[in-house]
Amino acid sequence: MKASAFTYYKPNSLEDALGLLQNEEDAKVLAGGQSLMPMLNMRFVQPETIIDVNGIDELARISVTDKLEIGALTRQKTLAKDPTIRQHLPIMQEALTWVGHFQTQSRGTIGGSLCHLDPAAELPMVALLYDAELQVASASGIRSIPMQEWALAYMMPSISHDELLTKIIIKPWQGSHGYGFQEFARRHGDFAIAAAGCLIKIDNNIIEDIAISIGGVEDVPRRFTECEDVLRAIKYDIDDIKMQVLKPLSKINYLDDSLVTGAYRRRLLRGLLIRAVEQAAGRS
């Protein structure tokens, strides 16, 4: 199980990296390598060129103003421990407890998770909750993509072969609110069969605002706006919510494969959704 041959470049600046991306026809960007390397070893991908971006320090920074700017090369282990993240985005650290293992978090990056875009990946779910903005650079300039438009299809982000994801910009919710993250996997660290994240603002027992993201159930992780619309502005009553979520659940195009059926994913998602909303409300 050995990779096929490729040419390896390790640019030390963003500019060099973008130049390479522009010139190389069949290149893959290597960041943390926790998804790409297995695919290389198994020869599921056989690119001619690998562009290793680990030498570009500017991509690995976290900065905070009224927004959080997270460099795409920021490692999961950094996110899991960073005090700024703990303060402004505690849900991200909670989501990270479900991501792989500490030996993969030590190299895995946030940009890698977003670009690999596994249907069940947790970090895209967090980015979705906040309507994050993704900054993508190429030799011809920088463009910005709203997270809700990031996923085009199964494991296909809205990024072209000469572009590089550089940063993720997140605006944390203001005022008192709660967060919940629920996931079910067969074993610790596995990709979720289904997962649900929730941010909630409750005022006077009325759900003033709510964001829900789901993973593992469709071919891409996404915001569950159908469900948000049903729950927004109603009274917070968990028994009522249990019934309310049933309808939007039928709006989902469930993944259905030889290992897990769509019917199960639906039932599971319902349970997790309720638990996530409850958890978020409990923290609000």
Binding site: K2, F6, M42, D52, G189
Partner: protein
Amino acid sequence: MQEHEVQMHVNGKVVSGKVESRTHLGDFLRQSAGLTGTHLGCEHGVCGACTVIVDGDAVRSCLMLAVQADNCEVTTIEGIAEADGTLHPLQEAFRNNHALQCGFCTAGMITSLHAFLSENPNRSETEIREAISGNICRCTGYQGIVSAAMEAAEKLAKR
């Protein structure tokens, strides 16, 4: 076929050599550096047998190219004991607690736990079980490994 000159510090010694771009760190350590204590159990990043410590972090050596470890500090199972051969508390504890049978997963278990406990030796059993959930052992049922980790953690905490 593209080759690179690499040089790294492995277990305190300089190791250098030529590698093909596609050679992963695990293969380099085993074949070029002759350090066969690092094992390959899956080469797709799940079994943890290949775990080594790179610049202080436990990483899967099958998921890192050798060329990426250029100029890095690498510790493998061969570098866990003291230079004079004295066993590390984890190694002692593995023997005391029957934490290995065939020994194939052992290098990855010990390097993982080494990194994990170096960061903070005060760990609960649940934390230890989660920490090694990225390492598969087919022989022991994990119980001896968990006991060994607890025993070593206690010793390391006192250091």
